[in-house]
């Protein structure tokens, strides 16, 4: 259903035309049979109403004009001309036009309010989710540091070290999360302006792997890899998010595959976790969408993949989930970045 609506929005002029032609055909059919001109107008009005409901304002206005002209041409004396003799026909047609305009105006208002409402809802859910996700690492840090402060003298050195490294780990987690929130906000406000440089991909990948520092990651590279035009810190963040995600959702190896498939440089991150139900696949890159429900459940903050997608799009690249071809197929996210041709590099 969602898809149908999306398609309608894209081709709203075409859809409007089809609907009005259909309304006109029905009118002609019934008009020849038994329907008086006013009934015909009502059917055309219905067409305009439907167009206003699904389309844009412009297409609704056009539908109104189309309806009025068609009425004049087919149903008023003299027929098959754009003249009208009867005063009542003229009045009917004007009223028809006014109602069509009003309908399109109302439909537009309604849609705008709906959009605003959704935006507000999203914003408040984002706020809730951010405050919640900030509290968790903060609770660890504050709890750990206050424990150190209160019991330091009594604790053996090993426990003190354990507390300090715990607080540090959580501080890094918090830092990473905040970076993601900032990027996500920038992406949402379309404020991703950054300079890029042409550079090889490998050092960036290596840097990410060093940061993640997990023995479960396997690197699978098929050289030669052309260079890419990127902002290093942003791409690193996108990769980090994907790898971090893969590690979070699986227990087995996580494979990072680098390939050159002209004109793209492809980076695929694969894991053998539980994957994701087909019904949810289209949602993974949505902001703050996570398989975690509320407070409970494993899962992330619903930011990682969104931010990764935003960053890749800002680099004129593509990011998608590879379809699961077999039941035991890995869950795979593929990034494609435009490769920089040799002569430019």
């Amino acid at each position: 259903m969602q898809r149908v609506f999306k398609a309608l929005e894209k081709y709203h002029y075409l859809a409007a035309l089809l609907i009005m032609v259909l309304a006109l055909l029905v009118s002609l059919l019934l008009g020849n049979w038994f329907l008086p001109p006013l009934g015909v107008l009502l059917i055309l009005q219905l067409g305009v109403g439907v167009v206003a409901f699904i389309g844009q304002r412009a297409s609704a206005i056009l539908a109104g004009v189309f309806g009025a002209v068609a009425f004049n041409y087919f149903f008023t004396e003299p027929r098959y001309t754009l003249h009208m003799h009867e005063v009542e026909d003229t009045v009917s047609m004007l009223v028809f036009l006014v109602i069509a305009l009003l309908t399109s105006q109302l439909a537009m208002l309604y849609r705008r309010q709906q959009a605003e409402l959704q935006h507000t809802r999203l914003r408040s859910s984002i706020l809730l989710s951010v405050s919640h996700d900030l509290r968790t690492p903060l609770a660890s840090i504050i709890g750990t540091l206050s424990t150190l402060q209160a019991y330091r003298e009594r604790l053996p050195a090993a426990e003190q070290d354990e507390l300090i490294s715990g607080a540090l780990e959580e501080s890094h987690r918090l830092h990473h999360y905040i970076e993601n929130v900032l990027q996500a906000t920038k992406i949402q406000h379309g404020a991703m302006n950054f300079t890029t440089t042409i550079q090889p991909l490998m050092p960036i990948v290596q840097q990410v792997l060093k940061r993640v520092d997990n023995p479960r990651i396997r690197l699978d590279v098929l050289p030669p890899l052309p260079e890419v035009k990127v902002r290093e810190s942003l791409l690193a963040q996108a990769l980090y998010n994907l790898v971090d995600n893969a590690l979070k959702y699986s227990r087995a190896a996580v494979i990072l595959k680098l390939r050159f498939a002209a004109p793209w440089v492809e980076i695929t991150v694969m894991d053998y976790g539980a994957g994701i139900p087909d019904t949810l696949r289209h949602k993974v890159f949505e902001s703050f969408y996570s398989t975690r429900s509320g407070d409970s459940g494993e899962g992330g903050t619903g930011l990682g993949l969104t931010v990764a997608a935003g960053i890749i799009h800002a680099h004129q690249g593509h990011i998608d989930l590879l379809p699961a071809t077999a039941p035991d197929a890995p869950f795979a996210v593929r990034i494609r970045l435009p490769a920089v041709p040799e002569e430019q590099a």
Binding site: S131, S140, G143, S146, T147, R154, E159, E170
Partner: protein, 233 residues
Amino acid sequence: MQQRILLIDDEVQIRRFMRISLQAEGFAYLEASTARQGIDMIALESPDLVILDLGLPDEDGFKVLQTLRSWSNLPVLVLTARDAEEEKVKLLEGGANDYLSKPFGIRELIARVRVLLRDLKESSSEETTPARLVFNELEIDIPNHQVWHKAQLLTLSRKEFALLVMLARHPGRLITQQQLLTSIWGKSHVEDTHYLRIFVSQLRKKLQDNADDPTYILTEPGIGYRFIPLPLC
């Protein structure tokens, strides 16, 4: 006899500092990382107190609370990252004895744990309420309905007195608005929180207690009250 505390929390780092601090305080420490495990631990180990994080991977902490309350009265302190008042009221009505909002300092947690364990000890030793409650500058003589503050005899109405006694009997414990309303005004007045606000503010006036920086009665907005000072005897 060491008192045993069970922590149900899926966050490794939180379990880490809780283990270290609770052991340093002389408690026996038990842990569980899922709701399922937590319920099993309670049944098998019968701890003296449970610290329950609401954000568990397998089930909402609130469900754990309900399951637990169906067969046990053991004190539960809830940790929550949400800060909506409705949430807290729901938790307390659902059987939590107290809650802490994340993030919290360890001293505060230990203080809450001690209050809950002390209440437990009092209620398990047979119901002997002391006739006199003595705090720093406040003395409450329960049988004679007299309250002395800074060596002055205060005139309190019957309800003000009942309110003060109910709070002062359990220093540090969170007493919810519903508990106070039910026991002083009766079950039919459980929604009339404005009564409570009026009486608490009258009581504060008589005790010269400033609501913004209280020495006696601390307000937990929308939820209830705590009596602050610890008894001298």
